[in-house]
C-alpha cells in the first residue's frame, strides 16, 4: 500500500500535504515553497511544463499555457464563452459538450489539464518521501478538495482528474469544511463556525456546528465564479482602457479593445497582481509595465472602490447560508478566513462587519485547505473516530416532470450521504422504457437548473399504461456525487440505467484518456529523442558542409582523399538531409552515423592540415 495525501487543487495554486505523527504538514520544494501554480504549458518540442516553470511561460508562450482551468471543470462551452474571451489560450468544444482547451495542435479536457497538476503534486510528494528515506514512497491515493458549491459534474470532473493522474480519490472534500478540520485540531470545544473562503476563482461560505469532535455542516452557499481572478480581470481591464485611451483619446472609456497580443495581456496581468499584493500592506503603489511604457499610481481607496461590487457579491450567499442554518449572525461564535483573496483588507473588513467579530486568520489562508485535506485523509486510513466530518449537498437534486417543472428529490443542505426515491410509470401501453432527466439547482424550471444527466430506464415489462411502478433511487455519497438505481416494483426487475453525464466524461472516455495519457507520455519521450537526434544530425551536417564549402577544398580533395570519397560523402550528406525533416528518429540517427563514418577520414585529413598550418605559421622557436 502506498501513501495517502491531501491535495488542494486550486484555481491559482495547488498544494499537497500529509499527516506525520498526527500533525498535518504541507510538502514543500527545496526552496521551501509549498505552492504549485496551477499552470500547465506545452513546450515547443511537445513536452509539458507544470507549476512555476509553466507560470514563467505565461509571459513567453501565452497561447501554449493554461491557467485557472478549475473554472472550466465540469462545464460546457456555453457556460464559459464570456470569460474565455480574455484568455490567451484557445477554449472551445461542441455545444452541449465539455469544454476543450486547445494547445498547439492538441486538445485537452479540463480534467486532463488538472491531471498534469495532480501528477506534479504526486511527484513532489513521492520525492519528499524518498528523501525522507521511506521505503514505500509511492503515492497512490488522495483526498482532493473542491469548492463546497461545486455541483455533481464539477466534483466528478475532479475525481476523473485524479484517476487520470494515477490517484485513487478516496474522498472529495469541500474546501471550507477541510479548513475547519485544520482549525479544529487544537480546539475541541463546541460552537458555531462560519468559514468564509474566497479563493482564486471561487467563493464559499459554510456554517458548521462543532460538538464532540463532530464537524457538522449546517448550510453552505457560494459562487463558483467569484474570486481573485475576477479582481485581477477588473484591474487588467482598467489598464487596457487607459492604454486604449492613450492611443486614441476619443475612445469610449467603457469599452475595452480585445485586440492586444496575448503577451501584453499576460504582462499586464502580472503587473496588476503585483500591485494588488502591494495594496495588502501599503496604502498606495504603482502599476508598472516597462514593456508597454505604462505606469500609474493606485491607492487602496481606488482599489477598494473598484472591487467593492465584487466583494459585495459574497454578502447575499452568507445571508442565505445563515438563514438556511436558522441562525442570526450574532450566533456565530467564530469566523474563519480561507483563500488567498481574504488577504485583501477590504475583504476582511466586510467579513468583520458581517459577523460582528474579527475573523480568524492564524493559519496561512493558502495552506489551511490542504492541511485539512491531509487530516481527512488520515481519518480515512487510520479509522480514527475522534473527529468526523458531516457535510451537506450544496444544491437540490431533482428530476424534470411534465411541463419542464423540476420535482425536488433531495433538498439542498441535506447532510450527505443522502438518498431519495421517486416513483415513475409509463404513459403508453407496453412501453418498455422511460426517459429521465436529472437536474441540480434551486429553480423551478428545468431550463434554469443545471442538467446533470439524462438516462433511459429500459427493460420495463410490457404492461398497460400507468401500471408499472418503477422506483428510482438517487444516492448522493459522502463525496457529494450522485448514483442512480432503479427497479420495477411489481415484477422486482432491476432496470438497466445508462447515465450520460451532461457536462462530464463517461467512464469509457476516462479510460480512453488514461490510455492516451500513457501513449502521450511515451510520445513525449519519443518527441524528445527525435529532437536530440535531429540536433546531432544538424551539427554533423553543418560541420561537413562547412568543410566542403572551403575554397581550398578541391585542392585538399585532390591531394588527400581517395578516388570517389568526395562523392560518397556528398551522397551520405544528401541522404541525411532528406530525412531530417521527418519524424523517423531511427533514420535520422542511422544516417547521422553513416555521414559521420563517411567523413571520418576527411576529418582526420582536415585535422592534420590544421595542425600543419598552425605549425607552419609559427616560428620554430615557439614550438
Amino acid at each position: 500500500m502506498g501513501k495517502v495525501v491531501g491535495i488542494d487543487l486550486g484555481t491559482t495554486n495547488s498544494l499537497v500535504a500529509y499527516v506525520r505523527d498526527g500533525v498535518p504538514q504541507v510538502i514543500r520544494d527545496a526552496s521551501g515553497d509549498g505552492l504549485v501554480p496551477s499552470v500547465v504549458s506545452l513546450g515547443e518540442d511537445g513536452t509539458f511544463f507544470v507549476g512555476r516553470e509553466a507560470q514563467r511561460r505565461l509571459l513567453t508562450a501565452p497561447s501554449r499555457s493554461v491557467y485557472s482551468v478549475k473554472r472550466f471543470m465540469g462545464r460546457g462551452i456555453d457556460d464559459v464563452r464570456g470569460e474565455a474571451e480574455l484568455l490567451p489560450f484557445r477554449v472551445g468544444g461542441e455545444a452541449g459538450g465539455v469544454v476543450r482547451i486547445g494547445l498547439d495542435d492538441r486538445e485537452f479536457t479540463p480534467p486532463e489539464i488538472s491531471a498534469f497538476v495532480l501528477r506534479e503534486l504526486k511527484q513532489r510528494a513521492e520525492d519528499h518521501f524518498r528523501e525522507q528515506g521511506e521505503f514505500d514512497f509511492e503515492v497512490d491515493r488522495a483526498v482532493i478538495t473542491v469548492p463546497a458549491y461545486f455541483n455533481d459534474a464539477q466534483r466528478t470532473a475532479t475525481r476523473d482528474a485524479g484517476r487520470l493522474a494515477g490517484l485513487e480519490v478516496l474522498r472529495i472534500v469541500n474546501e471550507p469544511t477541510a479548513a475547519s478540520l485544520a482549525y479544529g485540531l487544537d480546539r475541541r470545544d463546541r460552537g458555531i463556525i462560519a468559514v468564509y473562503d474566497l479563493g482564486g476563482g471561487t467563493f464559499d461560505i459554510s456554517i458548521l456546528k462543532v460538538e464532540d469532535g463532530v464537524f457538522q455542516v449546517l448550510a453552505t452557499n457560494g459562487d463558483t465564479h467569484l474570486g481573485g481572478d475576477d479582481i485581477d480581470r477588473l484591474l487588467v481591464e482598467l489598464v487596457l482602457r487607459e492604454l486604449d485611451r492613450e492611443q486614441d483619446p476619443s475612445h469610449d472609456a467603457g469599452r475595452v479593445l480585445h485586440s492586444r497580443p496575448a503577451e501584453d495581456i499576460q504582462a499586464i496581468r502580472k503587473a496588476v497582481i503585483a500591485a494588488k499584493h502591494d495594496l495588502t500592506d501599503v496604502e498606495e503603489t504603482e502599476i508598472r509595465l516597462d514593456s508597454l511604457d505604462y505606469r500609474r499610481r493606485i491607492t487602496r481607496g481606488e482599489f477598494e472602490r473598484l472591487i467593492r461590487p465584487l466583494v459585495e457579491r459574497t454578502i447575499q450567499p452568507v445571508r442565505q447560508a445563515l438563514a438556511d442554518a436558522g441562525l442570526e449572525p450574532a450566533e456565530v461564535d467564530e469566523a474563519v478566513l480561507v483563500g488567498g483573496s481574504t488577504r485583501v483588507p477590504f475583504v476582511r473588513r466586510i467579513v468583520s462587519e458581517l459577523f460582528g467579530r474579527t475573523p480568524h486568520s492564524e493559519l496561512n489562508p493558502d495552506e489551511v485547505v490542504a492541511l485539512g485535506a491531509a487530516v481527512q485523509a488520515d481519518i480515512l486510513i487510520s479509522g480514527r473516530r475522534e473527529m468526523l466530518l458531516l457535510d451537506v449537498t450544496p444544491l437540490s437534486l431533482g428530476i424534470e416532470t411534465m411541463g419542464g417543472v423540476v420535482s425536488k428529490i433531495i433538498l439542498r443542505n441535506s447532510t450527505i450521504p443522502a438518498s431519495g426515491r421517486e416513483m415513475f410509470t409509463t404513459g403508453v401501453d407496453n412501453q418498455t422504457s422511460v426517459d429521465i432527466h436529472v437536474l441540480q439547482g434551486e429553480r423551478e424550471l428545468a431550463n434554469d437548473c443545471r442538467s446533470l444527466a439524462r438516462f433511459k430506464l429500459r427493460g420495463i415489462p410490457p404492461m398497460p399504461a400507468g401500471l408499472p411502478r418503477i422506483e428510482v433511487r438517487f444516492q448522493i455519497d459522502a463525496n457529494g456525487i450522485l448514483s442512480v438505481a432503479a427497479s420495477e416494483l411489481r415484477t422486482n426487475i432491476a432496470q438497466t440505467i445508462e447515465v450520460k453525464p451532461s457536462y462530464g466524461l463517461t467512464d469509457q472516455e476516462v479510460e480512453r484518456m488514461l490510455i492516451e495519457s500513457f501513449e502521450h507520455a511515451q510520445a513525449d519521450i519519443e518527441a524528445r529523442l527525435l529532437i536530440e537526434a535531429r540536433n546531432e544530425g544538424e551539427s554533423v551536417i553543418t560541420a561537413t558542409e562547412k568543410t566542403l564549402r572551403r575554397p581550398d577544398f578541391p585542392e585538399i580533395a585532390a591531394a588527400d582523399l581517395q578516388p570517389g570519397e568526395h562523392e560518397k560523402i556528398q551522397s551520405a550528406l544528401d541522404a541525411l538531409k532528406q530525412v531530417m525533416g521527418g519524424a523517423d528518429r531511427d533514420a535520422v540517427r542511422d544516417l547521422t552515423h553513416a555521414l559521420n563514418h563517411a567523413t571520418q577520414h576527411l576529418a582526420e585529413v582536415m585535422m592534420n592540415r590544421g595542425v600543419r598550418e598552425a605549425l607552419a605559421g609559427k616560428n620554430v622557436k615557439d614550438v
Binding site: 478516496l170 460538538e211 463532530v214 447532510t415 450521504p417 448522493i476
Partner: protein, 248 residues
Amino acid sequence: MTPDPIPAQPVATLECRNCGAGAPVDEHFCPQCSRILMLGRHGDYFSFFGLPRRLVIDQAQLERRFRDLSRQFHPDYFYNAAATERLASLERSSYLNDAYRALRNPISRIEHLLAIEGLPPAKSEDPSTSSGQAASKVPPGLLEEVFELNEQLDEIRESRESGGDPAALRERLESARKPIDLKREEHEREVEALSAQWDRQAMASPAEKRATLDALRERLLERNYINNLLASIDREAQSLEPKAESRG
C-alpha cells in the same frame, strides 16, 4: 449494486450478510459477528433512532443520538471493509441523515408519524417552492378567514392597479394579515397540545389514538393552507414595494 427486493409486507428480521445470523429490524450491527447490517426495508425513523413514537422530543438528546449513530455508520470508517459492509454503511448513513432531518422538525415529525400510523400523507408544501396550488380545497375551519382575506386582497389589487397610494395599501394589507397571523399562532398551540395528547395516549384505545391522529392530520392540512395564504399576502406586499433601486 443490486437493488433490494421489496416484499409486500415489511421484513421483520434482517439477515447478516457476513455470518448469516438473523437480527431484529432495529438492530444496526449483527448481534453475532458485530458487522454492520444491510438496512433492509426500514420505515420507522423513531425505532431506527431507538425512540418511542412520541411527538415531544428532547432536541439535545436527539442531536446527541444522531452524532452517536453517525460515528457508528459513517462511510469514513468503512474504507477498508468488505464491499457489502461499505454499502451497508452508505445505506445506514443516508437513512440516518434522512431520519434526523424528519425528526428534528416538529411538523415533519408529525408527518412521519402519520405515515407510519397508516394515514394518507398531509404533505407539507414549502411556500417558497410550491406554486401555491397545493391545497385547493379550503379546510372547513378556515372558510371564514379565507373568504374575508380574498375579498381584501382583491380590493387591494384593484386599487393598486388604478394607482392607489402604496403606503395606505400596505397598511390595509398589514391589517388583512393580522387575523391570519393570529389563526396561525392559535393553530400552532393546537398542534402542540395535540402532540402532547398523543404522547399521553400510549395506553389509550385504538379509536382514541386514531381520533388524535385524525385531528393532527386536519391541522397539518390547515397549516399548509395558512402558509399559502401568508405567502400570497407576501407576494402582494412585494408588488407594493417601490422598485429596487439600481446600485451605483
